[in-house]
């Protein structure tokens, strides 16, 4: 495993090296950002909402080919600060919607904040609670930098009624030595007179997939601020076009 990770580390180092000469340019950029409060990067959020677009490959300079997921991340609109149990979070909205596709409660809530109609609303942790928030402020992908580690949550692809090999990684039965034609069955499910019943939680076939799923430790390869696109190394749960939540990693 560590061998696999090295190219990305190298990549991250490269990115750092690249960043150093760019610093003066970034400072130059930060001035107009301050002038225009519409795209405020002073809001520090735990994550952002986006759409999974699909997968492709990235060819590195050293010949490595890296599987890459492309996510259209944001721009999200800041809506409202919420405080609960000493934790401050920020409600953000993503994706423009037709007003007639929203219900009255959502529309009136957005009208009260003076924000355009929005399809998805979700809360994310606000890491700097003291910051002032004006509803409608855009939050963009630049909260992520190449080399960052993320956890990505989405609704996984539904697999329907699945057997025990796919659903619980059972090994199945032998294919030789006179096994009857049930090589994909799980085998015995209980004991004898004790306990005289099947234990609760016995792994059996059933509905699989289609639930909330998180993949941890996915690295950011590249960020494209103009197109609001983020490049992630590896696969992300969910089908193309599904809504994903990209968070900074929980693991340090």
């Amino acid at each position: 495993m560590p061998e696999k990770e090295t190219p990305v580390k190298k990549e991250a180092k490269k990115a750092e090296v690249k960043d150093q000469p760019k610093e003066p340019i970034d400072e130059g950029k930060s001035i107009p950002v301050d002038m225009a409060p519409d795209s405020d990067s002073s809001i520090k959020l735990s994550g952002l909402m986006g759409t999974k677009i699909g997968m492709t490959q990235t060819i590195m300079n050293d010949g490595q080919i890296i599987p890459t997921t492309i996510i259209k991340l944001g721009p999200c609109l800041a809506l409202e600060k919420k405080t609960k149990n000493d934790k401050t979070s920020l409600k953000i909205g993503y994706l423009d919607a037709k007003p007639r596709s929203l219900n009255k409660s959502k529309l009136s809530y957005l009208a009260k904040l003076n924000v355009k109609p929005i399809k998805y609303i979700k809360e994310f942790d606000l890491l700097n609670p003291e910051v002032e928030i004006s509803p409608g402020t855009e939050i963009k992908v630049d909260m992520f930098q190449p080399g960052d580690v993320t956890d990505i949550t989405s609704k996984s692809k539904g697999k329907g009624f699945s057997g025990v090999i796919k659903r619980h990684n059972f090994a199945g039965m032998k294919h030789t030595h006179g096994t009857p034609q049930n090589q994909r069955s799980g085998g015995s499910v209980g004991s004898c007179a004790y306990p005289g019943r099947i234990w609760k939680g016995q792994k059996m076939p059933g509905r699989y997939g289609g639930g909330t799923s998180t993949t941890q430790g996915l690295k950011v390869l590249k960020v494209n601020l103009n197109e609001n696109i983020i490049f992630i190394k590896g696969a992300v749960p969910g089908s193309n076009g599904s809504i994903v939540y990209v968070n900074h990693t929980r693991k340090g």
Binding site: I53, G54, T56, Q57, T58, I59, M60, N61, D62, G63, I65, I70, K72, E227, I229
Partner: protein, 113 residues
């Protein structure tokens, strides 16, 4: 054009026109410690598969009497150059049948075009 096509388009290299049956030499960069040198692999292209950034070419040659094949990612940055030595006249896109042929039988006629 959708977003993925657009992104892939950016990292495509300019590749000379060639197809299966052509004899090419692939100049491939190899890193040895600090040094970088170029290795040349010359043989017949028996297949081009995949599309866009995923496209690969399979090159086959007989080296010391043993058939050797190598698959290169066409748009890899390790490929310095693809040189076309000969244009072959063939009638199918994949020449996997060449694997079963003797050296004499696997000769390809040169295209007159």
């Amino acid at each position: 054009m959708n977003i993925i096509d657009k992104i892939e388009q950016e990292s495509l290299k300019e590749v000379p026109l060639f197809k299966a049956g052509d004899t090419v030499s692939v100049h491939y960069k190899i890193k040895e410690g600090e040094k970088e040198r170029i290795q040349i692999f010359e043989g017949v292209v028996i297949a081009r598969s995949g599309s866009s950034i995923r496209e690969t070419l399979t090159v086959r040659k007989i080296s010391h009497g043993i058939g050797t094949e190598r698959i290169f990612p066409l748009h890899s940055k390790q490929i310095a150059k693809i040189e076309i030595k000969k244009r072959g006249r063939i009638r199918r896109a994949k020449l996997y049948y060449m694997r079963g042929l003797s050296k004499k039988a696997s000769r390809i006629k040169e295209s007159t075009k």
